[in-house]
Symmetry: C2
Subunit: 340 residues, 2 copies
């Protein structure tokens, strides 16, 4: 797909990810001929800024995709399921930020730093899937190591921000925390449990094996993106009272022994990664530092002393859930698609 300028549709334009998509497209000067902001009836009619103009949010319907080259969907799986066919029929290529198409073997699931080449498979169905945010953030940090020395097992525990549940969840974290501090009664509405000064297991359905859907995504999507169905992964996904960056404690077992110095050198040269690992100053990846940043911050790099064979490494990472975890990754896919 090679054009001078592109007509781009953003489905879910008023959401937290939709807002970031506009911001990232503008920031990276993607050649947008027309930006079409689409949302449900409830949100339509608002005006949102893009490149100095105020654009009106239109109601999403089957006719929305006429002349659209690229459609970025982030309005939930059911919206993707319902409107993807119309978008594809209109000739648009879809970058879908929901889970709906991710495990479809015909649909490429892409983290540009990992498997950019898979983008070519968009031709199968006209759809490219953007992975789960926790998956992307982990993969950016782990892939460069996996390339050099295959990772055999990943044990990850997450510290996930409110933004992963959308703008309303971020607002709930804010107002509920203020209510709590003021001694007012708290009534969770977006989240099932209080989020102010609390944390809880990720509120997605739990399979008979005990893993919730978020954990299952991290496992299955990583295997698909790494093109390695045998990599052993276990995940524990936890929601924490943080605004918009996810953190992850990652324990890796490699095929062969590997040292922290090797890991540090590989990560320092890796795209999309910034090593933040200052033991003296006790400064490591933190959500407030990762927020608004493109790179995934990686630190606490050390040999896992529970493995005397030297094949274990511990890492701690933070990445902006809305940017690299969603909008930025999607726009990077758009750039690759446009041959930029």
């Amino acid at each position: 797909m090679n054009k001078e300028q592109y007509t781009v549709a953003v489905v879910g334009a008023t959401g937290a990810v939709g807002e970031q998509v506009r911001e990232v497209l503008e920031e990276r000067a993607f050649p947008v001929k027309q930006l079409r902001l689409l949302a449900s009836e409830r949100s339509a009619g608002q005006f949102l800024p893009f490149q100095g103009n105020q654009l009106r949010v239109e109601v999403l319907n089957e006719e929305s995709f006429k002349d659209v080259d690229i459609a970025l969907f982030s309005a939930g799986g059911s919206v993707s399921a319902k409107f993807a066919p119309a978008a594809v029929a209109a000739g648009a290529v879809i970058i879908d930020n929901t889970a709906y198409f991710r495990m479809d073997p015909e649909v490429p699931l892409v983290v540009p730093e990992v498997n950019a080449k898979a983008i070519a498979d968009y031709k199968n169905r006209g759809i490219i899937a953007n992975p789960n945010c926790s998956t992307i953030i982990m993969n950016v940090a782990v892939w460069p190591l996996h390339r050099v020395n295959p990772v055999r097992r990943i044990i990850v525990s997450t510290y996930q921000s409110a933004s992963g549940a959308g703008a309303a969840a971020m607002e709930e974290l804010r107002t509920q925390t203020a209510d709590h501090l003021a001694g007012r009664r708290i009534a969770p509405s977006v989240f099932p449990h209080p989020i102010a000064f609390n944390l809880f297991s990720h509120n997605t359905p739990i399979a008979p094996d005990g893993y919730n859907t978020e954990e299952r995504k991290m496992i299955d999507e990583t295997r698909k993106i790494f093109h390695d169905p045998f990599i052993a992964i276990t995940a524990t996904c936890i929601r924490v009272p943080v605004m918009r960056a996810h953190s992850e404690s990652i324990n890796l077992t490699f095929d062969r022994p590997i040292t922290p110095d090797e890991v540090r050198a590989i990560l320092q040269a890796a795209p999309g990664v910034e090593v933040v690992d200052d033991r003296e100053a006790n400064r490591f990846p933190m959500p407030i530092d990762a927020s608004g940043r493109d790179n995934v911050l990686v630190g606490r790099i050390r040999q896992d002393i529970s493995r005397p064979d030297g094949r274990g490494i511990e890492l701690f990472v933070s990445g902006d859930q809305l940017r690299k975890g969603a909008a930025l990754n999607a726009v990077q896919i758009v750039e690759l698609l446009a041959g930029r």
Copy 2:
């Protein structure tokens, strides 16, 4: 040590743990003849409630321990180092909540649910050490399993509350969060990094191997308490914006295969443990539920699917850092010491 009533000294009486010690002693009706509240000059002179009376906080000095039977120290390692000899010389038995004596081979390190018998060794030096809070919470959940099927490896990531850094840190979490919400500038003072809507690697010194002191405590203390120098442990300790309960994501490798049902049955019968593992309702251990509670909450019990040999189990736990993580454990030791 068998008396009708005991004279008890609380060193660090105005701190977050000191406050809980008073509360727990009162709640559990420990037979206190006299409670002596001791603190630095800065905090002395305050009056604090105990059993319906207001007790004056006295300045800690070498003479403070006359006629004291039991002295609970929680005023920092340097205070324990300085005043323990005077307390022991006066005939008091010390329950020390700091790290100062914990790894002394002559000093028993006790979690009553795990190694109550070790208390007898208090006679060596007149001192019993209360373990690190994260260690206690993990040990209460892991020990009953270890007894049945030896745990060979523990990979733990923590979600530690502000209370672990004391009352001033809890206050900093409160005021800093309010400042952040009001758009006021934040200037961390107790913690080195912002804690409002943020998290960071535990701010203790980092050894050349990359592990910080908190992580080292979890490793070394668990080995001492379990009386198992070979158990392989790696830990990642993270501070989160939660008030007073620590949570931990725990990955266990057992000697032999073990099922989640076996684990659940063992934990349901274990002292100090409450299984909170409702997959249907998506209700698992949370800090707000653990706060003010004596039991360690354990849930997310599932087979680690990254280990096809059936020897892996995942757990998620929450425990009150001030109670079981500190004051309650210390008072339980006092009760055992008093033969109650």
